[in-house]
């Protein structure tokens, strides 16, 4: 049976794409070493366009005549009130640009001007080597270290030293966790059910927040925050799974990268926490199928966030307490309890992507 995977690995080599929203210029070269704050690509986001129909403006019977009156070419930059076209002669009629900008095209009597372009730059975010250049769009960075994939994030990125602020993986983050030492740091905690804590963290400010779980009712507040928030296990109050917690705890005080950008599209990415480190040997599974002995995490209530080991994949289907007949596995949980869990609710921990 084909398995689903959750990337929770203390040591792994990964490739991550960093892509501009529009075409632009890649300003690094293949093989170049980059740090998280290095700019790898830049682009200009067109804000507005102006279309000037010279044929209509001059009332020309033959559109071909427009070419003789247009005084500009594609690529030229225009200052305020620069002339675009003029008929010439004693009573020359003139068309001027309404705004400064750049001529994008001149064709069939139509002149298109791009105005008010906005510059954007793309940071590397991941320290590593530029593995590949995506022409005009971005780069693929090869990096290595510890990775913990998250179930949900608020769409932002950030970097900072990691501080674990709850004593256990299931504990609540409280107001007193956000004292002055948390300023500029990435805070990790089991769960948080008070929206005010998220707001207070912004005032401090923190560089980011990693939680095991959070009630879904706080999504709106989380999305309004100016710093990245990542939920490792998802929604609820159960806290963080033990594998992720142990790994994050071992990374305390190290600089962590939070990538909360979730892209849909053809190659959707999941949010993740990463700590850069040199990796000699990868610690990761590579099987595509569910098999006995694999370490798994349950991602659905009532066992959300619990981890264990597949004892065996059960033959045929199993009838759950609610009457559903599903493919299931017998799992020896971390507390040695044996549970039957639908395979659809399991993620194998640690697959190489």
């Amino acid at each position: 049976m084909l398995a689903s995977f959750a990337q929770i690995s203390p040591a792994i080599k990964i490739h991550r794409s960093r892509i501009l929203p529009v075409n632009g210029s890649v300003i690094v070269r293949k093989g170049q070493k980059v740090n998280e704050n290095d700019i790898v690509a830049e682009a200009s986001l067109p804000a507005h366009h102006v279309l000037i129909d010279v044929v209509q403006a001059f009332g020309l019977a033959d559109p071909k005549l427009a070419a003789t009156y247009i005084k500009r070419a594609a690529g030229e930059t225009l200052d305020h009130h620069d002339i675009i076209a003029e008929t010439g002669g004693m009573f020359s009629r003139i068309i001027r640009t309404p705004k400064p900008g750049k001529i994008i095209t001149v064709r069939d009597g139509l002149v298109v001007i791009e105005t008010e372009a906005k510059s954007i730059s793309l940071k590397a975010l991941y320290p590593g080597i530029v593995f590949d250049i995506l022409q005009d769009r971005g780069v693929v960075i090869e990096t290595s270290g510890a990775v913990v994939q998250a179930a949900w994030a608020n769409g932002l990125t950030g970097v900072g030293p990691l501080i674990c602020k709850t004593d256990s993986r299931s504990n609540e983050l409280v107001f007193s966790s956000l004292e002055v030492t948390a300023r500029g740091a990435v805070i990790a905690g089991g769960t948080c059910s008070k929206p005010d804590i998220l707001t207070q963290a912004a005032q401090l400010p923190v560089a980011g927040l990693i939680l095991g779980t959070m009630p879904a009712s706080m999504i709106e507040v989380a999305k309004a925050q100016p710093y990245p928030i990542l939920l490792i296990d998802g929604f609820g109050k159960t806290g963080m799974d033990s594998t992720s917690w142990k790994l994050l705890f071992s990374l305390a005080n190290k600089e962590v990268i939070l990538n909360g950008e979730t892209t849909g599209g053809l190659t959707p990415t999941k949010p993740e926490v990463m700590v850069s480190a040199t990796v000699d040997e990868q610690n990761s599974a590579s099987a595509k199928m569910f098999t006995s002995g694999q370490t798994v995490r349950v991602h659905t209530a009532p066992n959300l966030g619990q981890t264990g080991r597949i004892e065996k994949i059960l033959p045929g289907t199993v009838t759950l307490v609610n009457g559903l007949k599903v493919a299931a596995a017998s799992i020896i949980m971390d507390n040695n309890e044996r549970k039957t869990i639908p395979v659809a609710n399991l993620d194998v921990i640690g697959f190489t992507s």
Partner: protein, 579 residues
């Protein structure tokens, strides 16, 4: 039933969905087609596997294990056609609904004619209209250009002009599209599909072909009062499949082995619905609802005229949009007693992050069912507001997708469908428990006999025949007497009260006679029903009379509401038989 002579061919059909890939192996057994084996696995188009063929091969291996028939050669390639009759398959079909919704900008000449048609066309595929431009757009040209550039469409649907109509307006719109195309980076320029005035095809292709790929279909509006929606949708299906092939090269690799071009699942489902409506009651419609993880398709047809509508919301990742835009109270109103609303909210959001997850407890199952009820209800309301539902209701409602056919007890499934779809008149609810409708449609062009015979077989379950009546009488008032006669039995009468749900057992395969006699106090509309006797088919639940009115109004008081929900479920369980 079908005049087509039987050609005994083995058929493998694959349906690649957003979260699941399914395989169906059909063969001729005792002179008719049967479903011999089916298999399911997770879809594998996304990272880390990023290859649809891994999922396909996994299901094919499962079919080999079940049937003992060798389907793959030593190179792990499907054997098509079959060899020596026992290895491989004679026909191979693919239907697909996976992948992100394609961003579509539509350009029409008039907002209430060609734009309306082209926007409807966009809804027949797995696409979202991100911008819609017409000549009577109130925005300035510059604002229109900005809007389209910002939306960065992946496809442009362009329609306009009747076949003998003016060409000037088409040229003007083509000029605007040309200007926009030049503003987009070369590798991000959308595919343009022209479905307008056929005399302008060459002009449009020559003009826009300088900047991007241009394809054309027949005119969606060859005359002002003639709309070619489904014909264009069928042509679009091939273009869409080609586009998916450009996006996911792995599907392109397997396409040459297919006996017919892979077919978008919505179009496949539409073919079956259209066929059923052509052979059924011309006055009443056929509807099929396929609730998937990434999308929901509702196809309906009346007298052979088909409508297909693909909603970009399903019960998986795309469910997020629905949760964001729906007041949570609209979902919790369907919660039975004892459900913690906040835990329910957490569960539903968790589903958006893990779309394949399955509810493990009774509580989590009813929470998911409540969300499905509201999702279906909102979609039906949407279609009703657009005037896309048949006034007299639907004779048959086919339900497909794991959530609608397997996620619950038969009682739970029926009440979920009734509360969500809220049908009117007389309807038979039929479950496609294997979710094979789309694959049957994919095979229908070249293997037409197979779907016909499968539709008549027992792989489809007749859940119930439902008579839905609407009355403005007070709850508890007797609004009608239902007279039901089973073959060889006496007529039985049932008094039906306003607000009730009544189950009358009629076994599957049995046809009973029924008559509805409204009472004086009923103030009842017999929409989709007749006052005389009519025939009904039996089913798992036999006959169900739904006298809860339309739309179903639930009491605001939680205790009363929960009691009402419980009593309806109990009625279906046969705990409260009205006689």
């Amino acid at each position: 039933m079908s005049p087509i002579p039987l050609e005994p061919l083995s058929i493998l059909a694959i349906d690649i969905g957003t979260v699941n890939t399914r395989a169906f192996f059909y063969d001729v057994v005792e002179e008719s087609y049967h479903l011999v084996a089916s298999a399911i696995t997770k879809s594998t188009y996304e990272p880390p596997l990023s290859d649809v063929n891994i999922g396909i091969m996994n299901t094919v291996h499962q079919i080999e294990d079940i049937t003992g028939r060798m389907l793959l050669n030593q190179k792990n390639t499907l054997i098509v056609p079959s060899q020596a009759g026992s290895e491989g398959v004679d026909r191979f079909y693919i239907s697909h609904s996976f992948g992100p919704f394609v961003k579509i900008a539509t350009f029409g000449l008039s907002s209430d004619v060609s734009s309306k048609s082209i926007n409807r066309l966009a809804a027949t595929t797995y696409g979202t209209v991100v911008e819609s431009i017409s000549l009577n757009d109130k925005r300035t040209i510059n604002e229109q250009i900005d809007a389209v550039v910002r939306a960065a469409p992946e496809m442009i649907f362009f329609a306009g002009g009747t076949d003998q109509g003016s060409s000037r307006a088409v040229k003007k719109m083509a000029n605007l599209i040309a200007s926009i195309l030049q503003l987009l980076p070369q590798d991000m320029r959308p595919l343009v599909i022209f479905s307008g005035n056929q005399s302008m095809v060459k002009t449009v292709k020559d003009h826009l072909g300088q900047y991007t790929k241009v394809a054309n279909t027949v005119n969606i509006r060859p005359a002002m009062d003639d709309e070619n929606l489904i014909k264009v949708a069928n042509e679009l299906a091939d273009l869409f499949t080609g586009y998916r092939g450009d996006q996911y090269s792995s599907i392109k690799r397997i396409t040459p082995q297919c006996s017919d071009s892979p077919c978008p699942s919505a179009i496949g489902m539409g073919r079956i619905v259209q066929f059923l409506s052509e052979v059924g009651d011309p006055e009443k419609g056929i509807m099929a609802v396929d609730l998937g993880s990434g999308s929901t398709t509702i196809a309906s047809a009346c007298n052979g005229k088909l409508d297909v509508y693909v909603f970009p919301t399903g019960i998986g990742a795309s469910f997020e949009k629905f949760l964001e835009t729906t007041p949570f109270e609209d979902i919790t109103r369907w919660f039975p007693a004892g459900i913690n609303a906040e835990e329910g909210r957490d569960q539903l959001w968790q589903k958006t992050a893990f779309p394949r997850s399955i509810p493990e407890t009774s509580t989590s199952l009813v929470v998911e069912q409540a969300a499905v009820k509201q999702l279906l209800y909102s979609m039906m309301r949407n279609l009703s507001e657009r005037g896309l539902l048949v006034q007299n209701g639907y004779d048959t409602i086919l339900c497909s997708g794991m959530t609608l056919t397997q996620m619950g007890t038969p009682e739970q499934l029926l009440i979920m469908l009734l509360d969500g779809l809220q049908p009117i008149g007389l309807s038979s609810f039929v479950l496609d428990q294997y979710s094979m409708l789309a694959s049957l449609g994919a095979a229908a062009r070249l293997s037409p006999l197979m779907p016909v015979q499968l539709m008549e077989s027992s792989v489809f379950t007749n859940l119930a025949t439902v008579v839905s009546v609407h009355s403005s009488a007070k709850p508890g008032t007797t609004i009608l007497r239902a007279r039901v006669q089973l073959p060889g039995e006496q007529v039985k009468s049932f008094n039906i009260k306003q607000g009730s749900l009544t189950r009358i057992p009629v076994k599957p395969g049995v046809r009973a006679a029924m008559q509805i006699i409204p009472t004086r106090q009923s103030r009842m509309e017999l929409t989709g029903l007749t006052e005389g006797a009519f025939r009904i088919n039996g089913g798992v639940f036999g006959l169900v009379i739904d006298a809860r009115g339309r739309p179903i109004i639930l009491p605001k008081d939680n205790a009363k509401r929960e009691q009402m929900l419980q009593s309806w479920l109990a009625s279906l369980q046969g705990q409260q038989l009205v006689q």
